[in-house]
């Protein structure tokens, strides 16, 4: 049984026209799906539908996961500048009514998992871009979500940092058993993190094809050098340019 499903979901913004669809997508437990498409195709809109933050103008969204079981990571870390790192990570728990002492302890554990336990009293302004994104990741993990949604999370980071974060994300994903949907416009990144890459047409985005990435996990830098990786990148790029031309 899938965790979340979009069925012919179409989103039209008043005054701005159609942003998405009709688009079909189904997310199974524990899988890692990458959404790839040209900018403006509605990737982020699809993600917000899966998060329950928006409702489709037409079509259906079935969310089997509860509201507290979904976490979102945005392109910018979106941390509250007036809160310490630890308080930022604890925020979802505090809002859910968890006791402060327990929330702090769980936030500390989540920070430890992303390798930032010594920065727990730092403020976001004192963190590098990569560290801030790790904090955002810790905040997404602290509620132990079953569905982890990431909207171009590493797009603003340099290449080395984004590769390191992709590795950390993969090991966290494998540990937690959450399903993850990863929106990106970077084909190689999509292949690296996902078991299934869904290609979208230019906006309003529709399903343009799907590439399965058969590779053992855990993946590491060596995976980028394998023939499977190259084949998948070429297949995805080809599907993407076909979608753009159509």
């Amino acid at each position: 049984m899938s965790l979340a499903r979009l069925s012919a979901a179409k989103v039209i913004y008043p005054g701005r026209g159609a942003a998405l669809g009709p688009f079909d997508l189904s997310i199974e437990p524990r899988e890692a799906v990458a959404l790839v498409g040209p900018s403006g195709c509605g990737k982020s809109t699809a993600l917000r539908l899966l998060a329950g933050l928006e409702t489709p103008t037409r079509g259906m969204v079935d969310l089997i996961v509860g509201k507290g079981e979904t976490s979102v990571v945005f392109q910018s870390p979106t941390l509250a500048p007036w809160l310490s790192t630890e308080a930022n990570v604890a925020l979802p728990l505090i809002l859910a009514g968890v006791r402060h002492s327990e929330a702090r302890a769980r936030a500390g554990a989540a920070l430890e998992r992303v390798g930032l336990d010594e920065a727990r009293s730092a403020r976001p302004a004192q963190l590098s871009g990569g560290m801030a994104m790790r904090v955002a990741l810790a905040r997404a993990l602290v509620t132990q979500p079953r569905l982890l949604l990431l909207d171009e999370p590493f797009a603003a980071l340099d290449e080395i940092t984004r590769r390191r974060l992709a590795d950390d994300l993969l090991s966290i994903w494998a540990e937690t058993g959450a399903a993850m949907v990863f929106v990106t416009h970077n084909v190689e990144e999509a292949i690296y993190v996902a078991g299934r890459v869904v290609v979208m047409t230019p906006g309003p985005g529709r399903f343009a094809g799907e590439i399965r990435v058969e590779a053992s996990s855990p993946r590491s830098e060596g995976f980028r050098l394998t023939p499977e990786f190259r084949v998948a990148v070429e297949a995805t790029s080809k599907r993407l340019s076909q979608a753009m031309a159509a």
């Binding site: 329950g52 507290g68 979102v72 979106t78 500048p81 007036w82 925020l91 979802p92 809002l95 403020r123």
Partner: protein
Amino acid sequence: MTRILAPWVLIIAILAVWEVGTMLGHVPAYLLPAPTDILTAFVQNLPLLAASGWRTLEMSLEALAVACVFAGLLALSVSLNRTVDRAVRPIAVALQVTPIVAIAPLFVIWMGVDHPERAVVALAAIVAFFPVFSGAARGLASADPDLERLFDLYGAGRLQRLARLQLPSAVPFIVEGAKVASGLAIIGAVVAEWVAGGGGAQGLAWRILEAGNQLQTAKMFAAILALALMAAAVHLAFVWLERRALVWWRGR
């Protein structure tokens, strides 16, 4: 170095031309006193000027406090309810664009002719009200949209959203508004003293009026100098406070 020197060189040049000009041109002292005469008047009247300056400062800061309380409460209700927002905005704008001098006599009547200081505080508070109100209202509506989405996702309630998102997001805007308002409060107090001064409201503007009526022009200039020094000190204090507040807010 030139950045620090340039204004001082200009100031000294102007003062020198002024001093020599009044000396050689035989300008009567009631028309334009020499800078040295002004300095003498300033030193001689220092206790009175300091006391009057303190009075003006006191009334300005009281007005600022009153304005902050009312503007804050109004901004809060405006941010909680769109209908209140629509209802309040035109009145707030009308209040802002009405010249303070025009409504000053009304306040003198309302506050009682025996209490001019109340009229001064009320009038200065009206002048200081708008920047605090618009800053707070804008700040309360300016939370990061992605953070708003996260609060949606985590099912935050109305009060949680206000206390943990909107109010903290508004802090830099409120501080900025208070800084602008501090300068306006002094201007408002001086203008109001002009109209309503006397009795318990004998501040620097009153000293200027008094000296002017007696044609003691050097004393007028001395009071203006005291006023400028006080306003500059208040401005610098609020710039410093704003910087401290922002350091506290974002941790650096």
